[in-house]
């Protein structure tokens, strides 16, 4: 389905649109509520090298749509 592919291209871990920020109730310059939990339990198994501003990445990277970054997006993930 082309809509799905479009969505997969547009929506990335570490990025939140202004629309979703508003929906969640995030204020400007605020980290998403799950970041502190990520600090406690670790990064998602699909993105072990994820960087999150203010955790393992400079807080200055928190701007616009970006709060984090996944450097290596593997095409294939390991099956567990």
């Amino acid at each position: 389905e082309s809509n799905w592919r479009k969505m997969v291209r547009a929506k990335k871990p570490g990025k939140l649109s202004a629309h979703l920020r508003t929906t969640i109730g995030l204020q400007g310059g605020q980290l998403p509520p799950w970041c502190l939990r990520m600090k406690k339990i670790g990064m998602p198994p699909d993105y072990p090298d994820m960087k999150v501003a203010g955790l393992n990445w400079g807080i200055e990277n928190l701007r616009g749509d970006v709060y984090g970054k996944v450097y290596a997006q593997h095409k294939k993930t390991k099956r567990t």
């Binding site: 649109s17 629309h19 979703l20």
Partner: protein, 98 residues
């Protein structure tokens, strides 16, 4: 290889203004997504307030459950999402209309 059920979480208490794209954008933060089933009422054509998110890997399910814990971690339109392991027979590709 795990069954699709084991890779799926149930998400409840979803505000009707939330669309599938919002759910994708939120849950892709926690892992790669294979499929989302967000059933609509056939008559009213509104979403029914719950969804099944199927991830690519079952380890993401445990991660999401751990991340949310018993807390109201994320609210959409001030309604806190309820996350559970998908129950028997319910999976992302099930026909979810009741």
């Amino acid at each position: 290889m795990s069954s699709s059920k084991e890779r799926t979480v149930y998400v409840g208490n979803i505000d009707p203004r939330v669309n599938k794209e919002d759910l994708y954008e939120l849950f892709v933060q926690f892992g790669r997504i294979k499929k989302i089933n967000y059933p609509r009422d056939k008559v009213l054509d509104t979403h029914q307030g719950y969804a099944f998110i199927e991830f690519l890997n079952d380890s993401t399910v445990d991660y999401v459950l751990k991340l949310f814990g018993n807390t109201n971690l994320v609210s959409l339109y001030e309604r806190s999402l309820k996350i559970r392991k998908s129950e028997n027979g319910k999976e992302a590709n099930a026909n979810g209309t009741n």
